[in-house]
């Protein structure tokens, strides 16, 4: 990726963010429920009509839509996303509190997923249409058809409750408590990714140069390590970037199942409490995270693909 391409992408990201922010803001604007009322309820004051009106004026809720939106977006650009009603602290602070939990969980799930999916995908491709391939394909088919939260519940029941291998009750972030949620996410992601690894490796194995190498008597193991895997890496990195989008959504459900203190659980709670500023902040953050990761994936291409390094496509 050349510099002006990166600038172009950043500009595109900015437009998307403005669009997403506009969308979420109008959604909150149109939603039932009055933020002023909720703010006062949280503050435990006796609510009179006057105080309500006063708070509304204070929050700028009596202003027309576009004024409110511009006020909010100017704040966001200055790093101020408003106050969370339910957490009683600035939205930005609350998001920073919950971010590490989600990042650690998503990161370890991705590593586990790669450890499961890459070997299985390669095995499946190399032993195409043999017993191993059918077995792996069968399992990944079942995996794709299972809702991740159900997998989570079953793991919780078997590994947590019956075998008592892992703690099941809520608490702070710890390695022990992370195993089950991370494993659940990894299993759900592996099912899809194994298929993609298989396809990528198969495609590479079908190339003419592989046939050439094999006819020259080079052992398959050597061809795999030296040629097939490095070449199959590129499409897999793109797919990895895409599965991170799924991960950011999927993590919310899994965090709920395991009461894991992260952004997803926070968001579900915020929605239940109708904590609009916090929900808006969450959506914007996820948007930034997702687009940032995908930009990094594309930039990494420049370094991994020698064809792009020299400038041409």
């Amino acid at each position: 990726m050349k510099r002006n391409e990166i600038v172009h992408r950043l500009a595109q990201m900015l437009i998307t963010l403005v669009g997403v922010s506009f969308l979420t803001f109008s959604l909150m604007y149109l939603s039932p429920g009055d933020p002023a009322e909720m703010l006062l309820e949280v503050a435990d004051t006796i609510v009179s009509k006057e105080t309500l009106d006063e708070t509304r004026a204070q929050l700028g809720l009596d202003q027309p839509f576009h004024v409110q939106y511009i006020r909010w977006i100017t704040g966001v650009l200055q790093g101020d996303m408003g106050m969370s009603y339910s957490a009683k602290m600035p939205v930005t602070e609350r998001l920073w509190q919950c971010l590490p939990g989600t990042l650690v969980l998503a990161g370890s799930a991705t590593v586990m997923m790669l450890l499961i999916a890459v070997p299985c995908g390669i095995l499946s491709a190399v032993y195409r249409n043999r017993a191993v391939d059918y077995l792996i394909r069968g399992i990944s088919f079942l995996g794709v058809s299972m809702p991740s939260f159900w997998v989570g519940l079953i793991l919780l029941y078997i590994l947590g409750l019956k075998l008592k291998l892992f703690p099941i009750t809520g608490g702070a972030v710890s390695l022990e408590r992370m195993v089950l949620p991370a494993l659940t996410l990894a299993i759900a992601m592996s099912a899809k990714y194994t298929r993609q690894v298989r396809t990528a490796v198969l495609e590479e194995l079908g190339q003419d140069y592989i046939f050439g190498a094999r006819t020259r008597g080079i052992p398959l193991r050597k061809i795999l390590w030296r040629h097939v895997l490095p070449n199959a890496c590129l499409p897999l990195i793109t797919l990895l970037g895409m599965s991170i989008g799924w991960l950011l959504g999927g993590v919310a459900v899994i965090e709920m199942v395991f009461a894991w203190p992260g952004l997803g659980k926070m968001a579900v709670h915020a929605i239940e409490m109708r904590d609009y500023p916090l929900v808006q902040g969450f959506v914007l953050w996820i948007a930034v995270l997702y687009m940032g990761i995908n930009l990094l994936v594309d930039i990494s291409y420049t370094y991994l693909d020698p064809r792009l390094k020299k400038g041409g496509h």
Partner: protein, 273 residues
């Protein structure tokens, strides 16, 4: 007599399975041993037995009956969702691709924007904020899922536009509406249908996921995601409550995935791996 190919045989087999599931949904009132809403408190949280094959939930309702009625909820929700997104998405894509110019530029910018964002996150926010109920859940997922079909419809239309028979229709003065209905749509329909069929499984899972979070179907509706959420609270004492609804999702999604794949093999064999 022409031999039945393997693809066609499989498609027939899976279609029968799909019809069986549709039968469960349609005839739930006759198949279910109990009323799914009938709470009998003294039968609360009973383990599976001859009387209640899948056990009972906290309110003493029969689990098997609720799962059978759940087929109804799930299939109805999913089919409307897939119908809406395939319809709207294809419409936008075809118009965008055929018109070109400014319409196309604006519509595609919107699609790009939606695709640059994890849709399920937005769907959770939309469904939750609009207030959890079945219609809002469908709308929320529709709002973030139609873009895929817009992309597909557009690229298919662009390819078709180059073809001679479209040029012939244009030169003979056929009106654009006519061209789109008579010439473009029938040609892109198979691909759209295959994509929609393969989407059903994913959508069943996403709808159940939103209900599981509490932003979809509300109690006492018999819905699998919601039942799993209720079962989660009794995982220690009544594991059957979370076992059977999940198994139901797995079976239905698996059948629809197999059916979608086999439909693809028949209608668009070049896209098979």
């Amino acid at each position: 007599m022409a031999l039945l190919t393997k693809d066609k045989f499989l498609f027939g087999l899976y279609t029968v399975l799909v019809l069986v599931l549709a039968g469960f949904a349609l005839f739930a009132p006759w198949l279910a041993p109990y009323d799914p809403y009938d709470a009998v408190m003294r039968h609360s949280l009973q383990a599976p037995s001859a009387e209640h094959v899948f056990g009972t939930d906290k309110l003493g309702r029969d689990c098997l009956s609720r799962i059978l009625y759940g087929t109804r909820t799930s299939l109805l929700m999913t089919l409307s969702l897939v119908g809406i997104i395939a319809g709207i998405g294809t419409f936008v894509g075809v118009v965008s691709g055929y018109m070109g110019g400014k319409v196309d530029a604006v519509l595609m910018r919107i699609v790009d924007m939606m695709l640059a964002f994890p849709g399920i996150v937005l769907a959770i926010a939309i469904a939750g904020m609009m207030g959890g109920n079945i219609v809002n859940t469908i709308l929320a997922l529709a709002a973030v899922s139609w873009t895929k079909y817009a992309r597909l419809g557009r690229s298919l239309t662009l390819k078709l536009r180059e073809r001679d028979f479209i040029a012939a229709a244009v030169t003979t003065g056929t009106r654009p509406r006519q061209i789109l209905w008579r010439h473009v749509l029938p040609n892109i329909l198979p691909t759209i249908v295959v994509t929609a069929a393969m989407d059903i499984g994913t959508m069943i899972i996403e709808l159940a996921g939103l209900s599981f979070l509490g932003f979809g179907a509300q109690p006492p509706t018999p819905e699998w995601g919601l039942m799993l959420n209720e079962g989660r609270q009794h995982i220690q004492t009544a594991p059957w409550l979370m076992l059977y609804p999940g198994a139901a999702i797995l079976i239905v999604v698996a059948v629809f995935n197999l059916w979608g794949d086999s439909l693809r093999d028949i209608l668009a064999p070049q896209r098979a791996n």
